[in-house]
């Protein structure tokens, strides 16, 4: 290990047993900072966000060079390097810049807010300076974004990549019949700006993924989860925890809705409530199960309410509480939520330090995954090659007959001829994900169907079978 000397600034020495310099081992700046905060946990909240990133007014120097001019956290260290932590000192007379007085139009537009002492001019200015990201411009995102725009939130980001479908109109009140077929974001922008011309709308017309989530979420003060699927919901939660942002959660199912505010700095996160996603087939989507059209209106408006409360620091946020709404009984129930002391993400002994593969975590095929003609999820030879080389390779099942196996097979595969499969499925129960193959993909497709029908969730068929593998990956493999 590379040993460095870390210089602790005077204001933080009390949290490092009074020391001015501490030896810390680490190959990169990130590792050194992590090592330092492990040695002195009290330093953590002064140096890092809850997600483990350096706070933005903490400057780190490596041998007198600002690491932001090097490779930031990834900057490699060498034996004997001196790492200095230096506070950037900043302040100012007001919470935000451009403290211009409200314009005449704004005074009139927001007059009903200004009359509330809890909001007033200062609160309204705060809203005008705020940035909120709404993930999903559907049933929940429609009412949320409309009310946030009306309330005078200065900047609203929308993440969605769908087009308006006529079946959306039963509940997605951002859109009208004449919008059918147009991209949702384009329509939403026009609608929200029409409602409030002072509003800045940022469009993120892309699926939220592990690769872009941090970048998209980072500029916003509050994130509203209006997603309709588990992979994205876990992704939004995890990114919010890592970035230290509140996540205003809402979900709907038929006639029932839920809402909460997850803010790992002050309470539990979504994973404290649901450490593991439910089995993929147990949770039908709106498209499969139906939804009472008004329900997302109620839940989305609760999300908008919580968002504005958070921005204004008003009242009691829905942190540590899960609100359950039943439209048929027309009642609300409240459950207390506690922070899970063993949460993999937001507890002090968190093991997950970054974003993961959420499709795999939730046991559903990736959004871009191909499906064969029979609806069986497929994997291409190239994808299989990469997954076999990854840290979490799939279990490979060869469903051909033994003579064929003898001609050629993939090295890590298990031979379970198709006829024997129904009696040997117990051999697959411990696999997290399974890829089935045969010669051309035909028999393995039937075998995949059998496994899916038996309840295995993450089963994919090698597209084109060993013939395709020979064509694309391993030309030395005999084709028969």
């Amino acid at each position: 290990m590379t040993r460095t000397t870390v210089k602790i600034p005077t204001p933080l020495r009390a949290f490092a047993d009074g020391k001015a310099e501490v030896p810390v081992e680490g190959e990169t700046i990130d590792e050194v900072v992590r090592g330092l905060t492990t040695q002195y946990p009290k330093l953590r909240k002064h140096l890092l966000t809850p997600g483990g990133e350096l706070r933005n007014f903490v400057t780190v120097y490596l041998n007198e060079e600002d690491v932001r001019h090097l490779k930031r956290g990834a900057t490699p260290t060498r034996e004997g390097d001196v790492v200095a932590i230096v506070p950037a000192i900043a302040g100012g007379s007001s919470g935000g810049l451009s403290e211009a007085p409200l314009s005449r139009d704004q005074l009139v537009r927001y007059s009903r807010h200004l009359l509330l002492p809890e909001v007033g001019v200062a609160g309204q200015k705060k809203l005008l300076r705020s940035k909120v990201l709404v993930v999903g411009a559907g049933g929940l995102g429609s009412p949320t974004s409309l009310y946030l725009a009306a309330a005078g939130v200065g900047e609203i980001g929308l993440v969605d990549f769908d087009a308006v479908d006529v079946s959306n109109l039963q509940r997605q009140v951002l859109y009208t019949t004449q919008d059918v077929g147009r991209p949702k974001l384009e329509v939403a922008k026009g609608r929200l700006e029409g409602l409030n011309p002072g509003l800045k709308v940022n469009l993120h017309a892309t699926p939220l993924r592990s690769s872009n989530a941090m970048e998209i979420l980072r500029p916003y003060d509050v994130v509203v989860d209006g997603t309709d699927n588990f992979p994205t919901r876990y992704l939004v939660n995890d990114a919010c925890v890592l970035l230290g942002k509140p996540n205003v959660y809402g979900s709907i199912y038929r006639f029932e809705g839920q809402a909460s505010v997850f803010d790992a700095r002050r309470g539990p996160c979504y994973r404290c409530l649901y450490p593991e996603p439910p089995p993929a087939d147990l949770v039908p989507s709106c498209a499969e199960a139906g939804v009472f059209g008004i329900l997302p209106g109620i839940v989305g408006i609760m999300q908008a309410t919580e968002t504005v409360k958070l921005l204004l620091d008003l009242g009691e946020p829905l942190i540590g509480r899960l609100l359950l709404f039943d439209a048929l009984a027309m009642n609300f129930r409240e459950l207390k939520l506690r922070k899970n002391p063993d949460c993999v993400l937001c507890s002090p002994q968190a093991t997950q330090k970054g974003l993961i593969d959420y499709e795999q975590f939730c046991g559903v095929p990736a959004a871009g995954a191909q499906r064969g003609p029979s609806g069986i999820p497929e994997i291409t030879p190239e994808e299989l090659r990469d997954e076999l080389a990854s840290a979490d390779p799939p279990m490979l099942v060869d469903v051909r007959d033994p003579p064929e196996w003898d001609i050629a097979h993939l090295p890590t595969a298990t031979l379970i001829p198709r006829a024997e499969l129904p009696n040997r499925v117990s051999e697959l129960t411990r696999a997290r994900h399974v890829v089935v193959y045969c010669r051309s993909g035909q028999r393995s497709s039937q075998a995949s169907r059998l496994l899916l029908d038996l309840g295995f969730q993450n089963v994919r068929n090698l597209k084109g079978g060993l013939l395709a593998w020979a064509d694309h990956i391993d030309p030395s493999m005999p084709k028969y």
């Binding site: 600034p9 204001p11 002064h46 230096v86 506070p87 950037a88 000192i89 900043a90 302040g91 007001s94």
Partner: protein, 166 residues
Amino acid sequence: MRAVELSDSQVQAIRAHARETYPDECCGFLVVRADQPETAPRRVVTVERAQNEFDGERRRRFVIRPEELLGVEGRLAGQGLAVGGFYHSHPDHPAVPSEFDRDHAWPWYSYLVLGITETTEGPLEAFELDPDSGTFVRTSLVPPETMDWSRGKRTPKSLLGEEEMR
């Protein structure tokens, strides 16, 4: 939380700096002895001007670059001195720490704030961050001649003469 000892001339120096930079914010260092006990009131040896490097609206913001702080600390260390806090002005705003001040505050340091307008100057106020609650706590500002260092407690100036006579 530690009281801050500041002489009249140091207060005047801060006021003069704030007046010069008005309507922009001024900022500077509170220089203290490096070996001063943590329990005693914080005695300011000198105040030193810093450059407000904020890239934008300096009427509402100040930033001291970490390079400048490092440089000043390095120079002071050779003289047995250290930076014990900072002062800054709030042009046309009261001497109350803003949310932005609080978000960017560090524990241990003393923060002095002066409210100033085109024609008037408010009182200078002292604050320190409570690291547990993350809020600013007002601390007292006292002139140094009222401190009796030999006894480690405050003694009115008038009594010092009597002490000496004994």
